[in-house]
């Protein structure tokens, strides 16, 4: 079957990870996504992470399957061309700070006055409204603001720790497409588009709903619990043989405990016979299990436990992920061919459908590749006009 979003046209004015990820996730499923950049100070920041703007692996992965248009938004004609293209598009998304699109004359009211069917998406870190809307943010500052970083720690530590990841950027990559396709579905019924205002910080907090309810209902001061759990015992991350190697183990029943006990060669101990007993004595249990795991390769620990029906998983590095046999069996890792960089293996899409529905990964084209197609074919301007705008650094 054709890709799900074939026939949907998207304009993406975005840079970095969050906005491009969202645009890419629509393009992966067949939307025609025009990423707009400009050599006049409007290149995607991720083009800097490579040998040249056309050879940034990071940029390639975050902008897969998108097309490239260069329009100078500092020039009124550049803005006018964005507006013309918007009139033929289904979705316009940006990740500028609040007010930037309005100052350009590209705010939702400008774009939708004659095209109420248009869907407009903005995604400032703290939202488009409120006293701090203008604050500058990057993903990790939002993780910190949301409470997630505070909780992402071992218990009892004085200093917050968190992760090297930029979770809100990746959440935006899926939650914005969720909102966009919902708006497309609603538009079928109503004929009208929607203005979608995503606050990236809300996305992170939405993922803490249970903890926030505990705060709101029980007035509890939430604290980190690290690798502990109130529902599994033992439940932790155990050291294995090798440099910085770890395997997590989670025991959910007495029968699973018996399997783990036998594999680890531990003597039967009535204190550990029940869930309550194992939970209460978890520190001692962790010592005993860790003494066993540290003598073994992490994959051996995982395989033997899982074969015995006990939940276990290696804390996998990037190299482990690249060699993961489950990924190989499912064809998860996709290799993308790039004209400068060559073949690049990368994470695929974690959804498989009965009937296709997505595009094969394709590298984004060289900057401005689609200028002629958009200006002359879609917008109906003459080749002379295009050439003049190129000379005047409008299409630039």
């Amino acid at each position: 079957v054709a890709s799900f979003l074939n026939g949907i046209r998207v304009i993406s004015l975005s840079t970095g990870i969050a906005g491009p990820n969202a645009a890419r996730m629509l393009a992966n499923y067949g939307a025609e996504v025009f990423k707009i950049e400009s050599r006049a100070g409007g290149l995607d920041a991720f083009r800097l992470y490579g040998d040249s703007p056309e050879a940034s692996p990071r940029f390639v992965e975050v902008n897969l399957n998108t097309r490239s248009l260069t329009l100078n938004l500092k020039h009124p004609q550049g803005v006018a061309l964005v507006k013309e293209l918007a009139a033929q598009s289904d979705v316009v998304m940006d990740n500028f700070r609040p007010g930037v699109m309005e100052r350009l004359g590209l705010g939702p009211d400008d774009l939708r006055a004659e095209h109420p069917e248009l869907i407009v998406v903005r995604m400032p870190g703290l939202g488009s409204t409120g006293p701090l809307a203008e604050y500058g943010t990057w993903g990790p500052t939002l993780t910190a603001y949301s409470g997630l970083t505070y909780l992402w720690n071992h218990p009892g530590r004085e200093r917050p720790v968190g992760s090297q990841g930029v979770y809100p950027d990746y959440l935006t990559g899926e939650m914005v497409p969720i909102a966009v396709v919902s708006a497309l579905i609603a538009r079928r019924r109503t004929g009208r588009g929607t203005v979608i205002d995503v606050a990236q910080v809300d996305l992170a907090a939405y993922m803490l709903g249970t903890i926030l309810l505990d705060v709101l209902v029980n007035d509890r001061a939430a604290e980190p619990i690290g690798n502990q759990s109130a529902h599994f015992a033992p439940h932790n991350c155990y050291p294995c043989a090798g440099d910085d190697r770890w395997c997590v183990i989670a025991v959910g029943s007495d029968a699973e405990w018996e399997e783990l006990r036998a594999l680890a060669g531990l003597e039967p101990d009535p204190r550990f016979d029940t869930f309550a007993g194992r939970l209460h004595h978890r520190a001692e249990l962790d010592e005993l299990i860790g003494a066993w795991t540290s003598r073994h390769d992490p994959f051996e620990v995982m395989n033997r436990l899982q074969e015995a029906g006990v939940a276990a998983g290696v804390v996998q590095s990037g190299a482990d992920l690249a060699a993961d046999p489950q990924f190989a069996a499912r064809g998860f890792i996709q290799t993308t061919s790039h004209r400068v960089l060559g073949d690049m293996p990368m994470a695929g899409l974690p959804l498989q459908f009965t009937n296709g529905g997505h595009e094969p990964y394709a590298s984004p084209p060289p900057l401005g590749t689609d200028n002629e197609y958009v200006i002359t074919e879609l917008l109906g301007h003459s080749r002379e006009e295009l050439e003049r705008w190129q000379r005047e650094e409008v299409v630039y």
């Binding site: 992965e61 969720i178 396709v181 309810l213 991350c237 770890w246 996998q316 293996p345 959804l351």
Partner: protein
């Protein structure tokens, strides 16, 4: 947004966040629970710390606004009733071990034959096939095997899991997107969503290892490519300050007039050069940040265009004026839990946030209405209840 569409949610904790998202977007979501209740009803935290079938806050967050019917799908009558429900639904969400639905006589082929438009989303740890498909995968296994734990935590301590159940949730977010794509595309799809794969889509770890030859290891919140971009201590807590672009670095040095002169070195302008010098930069920056309170620092740096926000506890977050003004939480009233506030959908549509999801359903509270739509009356339901079907 999704009014008029119906989902049947048979999932456990692995998949209930998908239905949470769809319900927040206006879809009717009917939980099909075993006659003894969804086991999630027994998972804390509980309101007032008093366990009870209608008191789990985890259940309330994941299932607020959904309807509940009870059904023993392992009985012949239960299976037949379920197929009638599936015949009228648009979406079904499940997280059984692969193969379990087929054992119940409710495999994809059966469902698809019964309702060719139905979308079935299956959310599991490792996916529906492959050598590890049958492996057990509680949340911690997903965030470990998917690579996220490898880059999380203090390097002096074991890798640390993110709070709550981010593996379950992240897979469910993807599944919700798959459901919407399939709805837009006309339905009739079985979606196989793997938690391990969903987690592994974050952070480009596969490409960085297999192509760039870069091995990222855990290093707290220190950013991979820039500095100062980390957590820094101040008088009354911590901030995350993130100085990326060269002009921000200059502005930062300007608001810190007595900075060590070696930081003026032109070579430190690019963010990756500063990243290579964190052993010098980070301790110096912290001597500066310790002179100020969180609020002072945020105001000072944001006033100069530099991204900086406090490291909030969840209570601090909820107390932020920015969060209150945008009404991130909204009121819910529940017979069992009383009046409380609940996190709402993380976006505004045409300037308004969708209303809070609503109360968690009491077990089987939807039986009369939902089975009534199939033509069953009170006497029929009594009979089915007596036989343990509902």
């Amino acid at each position: 947004m999704l009014a008029g569409l119906t989902a049947l949610d048979l999932s456990g904790l692995q998949g209930q966040f998908a239905g949470r998202i769809l319900a927040d977007l206006g879809m009717r979501v009917i939980k099909v629970e075993p006659t003894g209740g969804d086991p999630a009803r027994g998972v804390g935290p509980f309101a007032d710390d008093l366990p009870g079938r209608e008191r789990s806050l985890r259940f309330a967050f994941l299932n607020g606004g959904k309807e509940s019917v009870t059904l023993d799908v392992a009985t012949a009558d239960g299976r037949a009733l379920f197929l009638e429900l599936a015949g009228r639904a648009d979406v079904m969400i499940e997280s059984f071990a692969p193969g379990r639905l087929a054992e119940l006589g409710l495999g994809w082929e059966t469902l698809h034959e019964r309702n060719p438009g139905l979308i079935l989303a299956s959310i599991t740890g490792f996916g529906q096939y492959g050598p590890r498909a049958g492996w057990k995968a509680p949340d911690i296994v997903g965030v470990a095997t998917g690579g996220l734990m490898y880059i999380s935590g203090d390097p002096e301590l074991p890798p640390v899991r993110p709070p709550e159940t981010q593996g379950y949730y992240y897979a469910s977010v993807f599944a919700a997107y798959g459901i919407l794509l399939a709805l837009w595309g006309g339905g009739g799809q079985h979606i196989d969503c793997s938690m391990e794969e969903a987690v592994a889509t974050q952070e480009h770890m596969i490409r960085e290892a297999a192509f760039d030859g870069v091995a990222i290891t855990r290093n707290g919140s220190q950013h991979k490519h820039a500095a100062p971009a980390n957590i820094f201590a101040c008088k009354d807590g911590y901030v995350f300050l993130f100085v990326l672009a060269p002009p921000h670095w200059k502005a930062f040095l300007d608001v810190w007039p007595d900075h060590p002169p070696e930081l003026d070195d032109e070579a430190l302008r690019p963010p990756h050069k500063r990243r290579a010098s964190i052993d010098v930069i980070n301790p110096a920056v912290e001597e500066f940040t310790r002179r100020h309170t969180k609020a002072e620092l945020v105001e000072l740096l944001q006033g100069n265009g530099i991204p900086c926000l406090p490291v909030n506890s969840p209570s601090d977050f909820l107390a932020e004026e920015q969060i209150q003004v945008r009404e991130f939480v909204g009121p819910v009233s529940s017979p069992a839990l009383g009046d409380y506030a609940m996190p709402r959908f993380p976006a505004l549509f045409d300037g308004a946030r969708p209303p809070a999801a609503g109360a968690p359903p009491e077990l089987g509270a939807g039986n009369a209405a939902v089975y009534g739509e199939l033509g069953l009356d009170a006497a029929d339901l009594e009979l089915l209840a007596a036989r343990g079907v509902i």
